[in-house]
């Protein structure tokens, strides 16, 4: 699966963005990767920052003081948005991979329909869910606090 025998990945990372004219799901794929990498980077830092709780109240307060307020609020909200998108799109990917949202095989009769036609409502619905989570997070981060 990972060797790409006979079909080397010549476009590399640029293929995520500039590989041609893609459908909606292709851009979800790109965003899934970008949010995944962002979340991984944040998570690795998070392990070290939150380990301060093992050393008591003073260490915890000092550690939190270094990453609280100002630009960190925006950064944390972006992490929340990345989580909302990555989680919702991940559920879509699992459903599609298990064959639960791609429709049944049909005769190739013109005008042709593909499984993309079956998947599209799920993709749009999942993005609505992610959007609602982002709105709820935005309310909590910036308005209700």
């Amino acid at each position: 699966m990972l060797d790409n025998k006979g079909h080397p990945n010549r476009l590399g990372v640029w293929g995520w963005l500039g590989g041609g004219k893609w459908g909606f799901e292709r851009y979800l794929y790109t965003l899934h990767r970008l949010t995944g990498l962002g979340l991984l980077f944040y998570f690795l830092l998070h392990i070290f920052v939150t380990s301060a709780r093992a050393f008591g109240a003073a260490a915890w307060e000092a550690s939190m003081a270094r990453v609280t307020g100002g630009i960190f609020v925006i950064g944390e909200f972006l992490v929340f948005c990345a989580f909302a998108f990555h989680a919702a799109n991940g559920v879509r990917l699992v459903l599609v991979e298990l064959g639960w949202a791609i429709g049944k095989p049909i005769e190739p009769v013109y005008p042709y329909r593909t499984s993309v036609h079956e998947q599209r409502p799920l993709a749009l619905g999942i993005m609505v869910v992610a959007g609602l989570l982002v709105i709820a997070g935005g309310l909590d981060f910036f308005i209700l606090h």
Binding site: L2, G12, L144
Partner: protein
């Protein structure tokens, strides 16, 4: 076959993360709208709340499970992205070794800090 097995674990780890990171995000970032597991103070990262959660065995266990699942899911996904770029066999071996050892090291450190915080909380 090995990659299929790892991919299945990647998907299963994603579902575990969905559950526990969903709970973590709800506690930390939907604290006004939903407001759960912050018994001592309105702010989720206040030391009193951190202490209260650390005293609950559920949170120590869930942090360690989330740590393992997230490290595997994230580092395996990162490995797949690197491998798709068509890197050579030697570099693949090096990437595997670095991610495996780095992931194990981070897991041991993160699990220790979750356990130590729980132990500290129970003495206070």
């Amino acid at each position: 076959m090995r990659d299929q097995r790892l991919w299945t674990w990647h998907v299963l780890a994603g579902l575990v993360i969905l559950l526990f990171l969903g709970l973590h995000m709800t506690i930390m970032h939907l604290d006004v709208l939903i407001g759960i597991f912050n018994p001592a103070d309105p702010h989720p990262i206040a030391w009193t709340n951190v202490l209260a959660r650390a005293k609950m065995g559920f949170f120590t266990v869930s942090y360690v499970v989330l740590l393992g699942a997230a490290l595997f899911h994230g580092l395996y996904g990162f490995r797949n992205i690197l491998f798709e770029l068509g890197i050579g066999r030697g570099l693949k071996t090096a990437v595997n070794a670095v991610l495996l050892l780095g992931g194990l090291g981070l897991f041991v450190f993160g699990a220790w800090s979750a356990w130590a915080a729980g132990a500290l909380a129970r003495t206070l």
